[in-house]
């Protein structure tokens, strides 16, 4: 727990001094306006809440991949990672503490997207099912924490993994139904989409914003929980494997 809290506190200090890591707060309004304008122009007010949510979730995912994914890589370049590994603290817990802050801050992107929608289009997003929204958001954040850890671990495999981080942005927006509904994806791609916790999380969050009673909440939440837990497990396994690999190869630091 001490290691987790140490990581958490470090990231809080770090976030306060690194404004450039808050770029998503600039980009999210752009996506929000873009998606809102598309459904507005199409005369589909029923899709408006989902479109605004998509803009917010894109920002959330972007922060997890870019900021979370860079945590270890930055530490390797700055020479702090070797020092961290040489302490008695469990490195995955320190990373988990840092990721918790990264993912936690992204929550603010959703109200930001709603605020922009209200200011630009004059439409207030209402939440008919706040409990569904809250639970779906919490479980999705757990999955995002795992995804960010997974990306951070994978980034250790290369010296400059920007291409990997880039590849994990737009394809995931499409695959998880953040830009267009998953139903418009080709049949063969839908099973892949269903493997992503973000698909289930986004769908449940959309359901929480629609006026009708959501259906199949039990099994949909179960699938979200399983896919999120799987992502968290995969993140930690990858992290442990790459840490061991880096210790053997002598690549905990980069010069």
């Amino acid at each position: 727990m001490a290691a987790f809290l140490a990581g958490l506190r470090l990231q809080l200090w770090w976030a306060r001094t690194n404004v450039d890591e808050l770029q998503a707060f600039v980009i999210t309004p752009l996506f929000t306006v873009l998606f809102g304008a598309v459904v507005d122009d199409a005369g589909r007010p029923d899709l408006f809440a989902g479109a605004v949510l998509g803009g917010g979730l894109i920002g959330v995912w972007m922060v997890c991949v870019q900021v979370g994914g860079n945590i270890i890589q930055h530490a390797r370049w700055s020479g702090t990672f070797e020092g961290l590994v040489s302490t008695p603290a469990a490195v995955p817990l320190v990373i988990a503490g840092r990721m918790a802050v990264v993912v936690g801050v992204t929550v603010l992107l959703l109200p930001e997207a709603w605020l922009v929608a209200w200011l630009v289009f004059g439409v207030a997003v209402v939440v008919p099912h706040p409990v569904v929204l809250l639970v779906a958001l919490l479980v999705t954040l757990v999955g995002l924490h795992g995804a960010a850890t997974l990306v951070a671990g994978l980034c250790v495999l290369g010296r400059r993994p920007y291409v990997l981080q880039l590849a994990l942005t737009f394809p995931f927006y499409l695959l998880s139904g953040l830009v267009v509904p998953v139903s418009v994806l080709p049949d063969w791609l839908r099973p892949v989409s269903n493997l992503s916790f973000l698909t289930w999380g986004a769908a449940l969050l959309r359901s929480a914003l629609l006026p009708g009673e959501p259906v199949g909440l039990d099994w949909r939440f179960a699938v979200l929980a399983v896919t999120s837990a799987t992502t968290v497990s995969a993140g930690f396994v990858v992290l442990l494997v790459v840490l061991r690999r880096a210790s053997i190869r002598g690549t905990l630091h980069l010069v």
């Binding site: 770090w14 020479g79 070797e82 040489s86």
Partner: protein, 316 residues
């Protein structure tokens, strides 16, 4: 023994080519044997690429050895990493190794927390070590605003904040000017008393000032382990004397002096006399003064030159 290494070997695989990958093995450590008793300040002296940092990294458990065994405070660095990490701190030199946008105090609080210290205890120790390394007035400033010497002192503070029994100092004065280096040596002598220290350096003077014993490492092997006084003797033995305007006959006389290794004349006319034995430089100086030469300069050999003498002129 606080630190023990037996037959420690570390190799790296280097791959070249894209379609046809060719792999070659680079030996960083080649069977290192080292014993450092508790409480000793032990120098690890060698040129760049000799294997000093690799050895420090293995002892700090951040690098896995290819073969051999090593223990710190009796704990194996491979099978009991956590126990080793509780006993030591790795202090790397240079300007890297900190969160530059955080303050010195925040950096220290983070590192203290990693050793499981409570918030209050971390705070107390961080303030104490900042005071002792002379950074008390700059603790609330961002590390990015620190000079190189201040960062080096912060490195040392980081190493001491958890009060480890064993300190690994890897090139702690790299890039510092002579005055800052001297001050830093005084800080190390004051703060590290009672601890076991392995000091990796390429600076013979630093090793002589700080260390109880010194191991010379070259090409991944420990060549010799001696007291610093022995090193000093090597340095004085291999002295260099430069003098202008030496006549050919006098040069011949100097060549015949016992303990003179070489007499060479540079393109600018300067004659260089290199000695290889104790007392030879005094004899040479006396001869030169008797012949009326007053423009004489003496200098100590570089570490590499001492190595060449020590290692028998083998290819490097």
């Amino acid at each position: 023994m606080a630190i023990s290494a037996v037959g420690l070997r570390r190799t790296y695989t280097r791959a070249t080519g894209f379609l046809r990958r060719e792999r070659s093995e680079v030996v960083a450590l080649d069977g290192v044997d080292l014993q450092v008793p508790t409480g000793e300040v032990h120098g690890l002296l060698g040129p760049n690429g000799a294997g000093k940092t690799t050895l420090c990294r293995i002892l700090a458990t951040v690098l896995v050895p290819t073969a051999g065994t090593a223990t710190v405070a009796g704990h194996d660095v491979v099978s009991h990493k956590r126990r080793v990490r509780e006993e030591l701190a790795l202090v790397l030199g240079g300007e890297r190794g900190f969160y530059d946008r955080l303050t010195g105090m925040q950096n220290l609080l983070f590192w203290a927390a990693l050793y499981g210290l409570s918030r209050a205890e971390s705070d107390r120790r961080a303030r104490m070590v900042l005071e002792r390394v002379g950074l008390a007035g700059r603790g609330e400033d961002r590390v990015g605003t620190y000079s190189r010497g201040m960062k080096q002192r912060l490195h040392l503070a980081r190493g001491l904040v958890a009060e480890p029994r064993v300190l690994l100092l890897d090139e702690p004065t790299t890039g510092m000017d002579p005055i800052a280096t001297k001050q830093f040596h005084a800080v190390i002598q004051e703060l590290c008393e009672g601890r076991t220290i392995l000091l990796a350096t390429h600076d013979m003077v630093e090793a002589e000032v700080l260390c109880d014993r010194v191991s010379i490492i070259d090409d991944g092997r420990i060549v010799a382990t001696e007291k610093p006084q022995t090193l000093a003797a090597w340095m004085s033995r291999y002295e260099r004397i430069d003098v202008d305007g030496v006549a050919p006959a006098l040069a011949e006389t100097l060549r015949s002096v016992a303990g003179v290794g070489r007499v060479t004349v540079g393109t600018d006319g300067t004659t260089r006399v290199e000695t290889t034995a104790d007392g030879a430089s005094e004899t040479v100086l006396r001869i030169l003064l008797d012949e009326g030469h007053t423009s004489i300069r003496t200098s100590l050999p570089s570490l590499e030159e001492v190595y060449l003498h020590l290692l028998g002129h083998r290819d490097r």
